[in-house]
Amino acid sequence: MMEKSIPDSKKNKAAINWRGVITGVFLFLVLALLTLGLLQANRGLLKVGEPAPDFVLNTFDGDQIDTSELRGQVIVVNVWASWCTTCVYEAVELEQAYQMYRDRGVVFLGVDWSDTETKALEYLQRFGITYPNGPDLAGRIYRDYRLKGVPETFIIDSAGRLSSVKIGAYASLEEIVQAIEFALDS
C-alpha cells in the first residue's frame, strides 16, 4: 500500500503572506477612517422628538444658565450673530414673544455664534432684546445642535426633547407663538 501524503514543498505554500496581511490591515484602517469622517459629516440635523443636548450659557451679563436645570420648562434657543443679515428679520418678534411668554415659564436663550462681543451688544441694544444672551464659547452649542448656519431656533419641551427646529428666520410672530404653544401642549 502506497503512502499518499502531500510532499513538503506543497506544505510550504500554506505559510502566511505577511505582506498581504499588512496591506489589508492598512487599507481597512484607511477606509474605516474615511467612513467615520463621512458619517460624522453627514450626521444630519437634530430631529424633532430627539433629546435636546444640554449646555451652559455664560451670558453677557455674567450669569451662567444650565439648561439641564431648566427641565420642566419650555426653552426657546435662538442661535444668531450680529453680522447675520437674516437674523434681523426675527429679532424684534423674538423679543415680543419673550414678553408674551415670560410669565408662563417659557425660557428664552440667545446664543451668539462666531461674533465679537462689541458687535453683539450693539445688536442686542439695537433691537431692544432683553432675554438672556451669551456667546457660544468654542462653538460647542453650534456643534452639539449640528447647526448648518444662523439663524436657527430650537424649542425644547418640558421633557427636554426637541419640539421644533426652525432653520432660518421666523416669518412672523404668529409662527413663533404657534411653535411655543405646540411645545407647551406636548
Partner: protein, 162 residues
Amino acid sequence: MRKKINTAACCFIVVIMSFAVVRASAQEGQPTDDDVNAIAKQLYCPVCENTPLDVCGTQACIDWRVEIRQKLTEGWSEEEIIQYFVDRHGMQVLVQPPAEGFYLFIYIVPPLILFMGILILMCAVRGWRKHVPVESPGLSPDEQDFYMTRIEDELRRRQDDA
C-alpha cells in the same frame, strides 16, 4: 538774494520734516494693517470654510479684524489674541492647530498614508516584474513519481470497475 532763497528752502524742509515727525509720533502705538493681518492670517474665517481671516471679506471677518486691532491697541500680545479667539470660538479657528492631543493625527496620518501608499505601489510593481517572464520550475523527480503513481493507480481502479 541767493542766501534768502537758501534760508527759505531750509525752513520749508524743516517744516515738512516736523510734520512727518508729528505724524509718525501720532501713529506710534497704533497697529498697522500688517500687524493686524499677521495675526489674521493665522485664523480661519468662521463662516467660509478654509478661508484665512486676512483675505476674507465677510462682515464676520471684518468684525474679527477690528477686534484684533482693538486688542493690539490695548497692548495685547499676538499669543494672547490668538488664545482669546481659540477660547471663544474653538480650536477650529486656527489655521495651524498645535501638534498635540487629537490634532497630532493631522500631522501623522497624511504622511503615513502617503508613505504606505508608495510602499504598496513599490511592492506591487516589484511583484508584476517578477511574474512576467519567469518559467515554471516544474516538479521535482520525487513529485513526478508521486503523481504518476497516483494517476496509474486511478486508471487501474477505473479499468477494474469497468
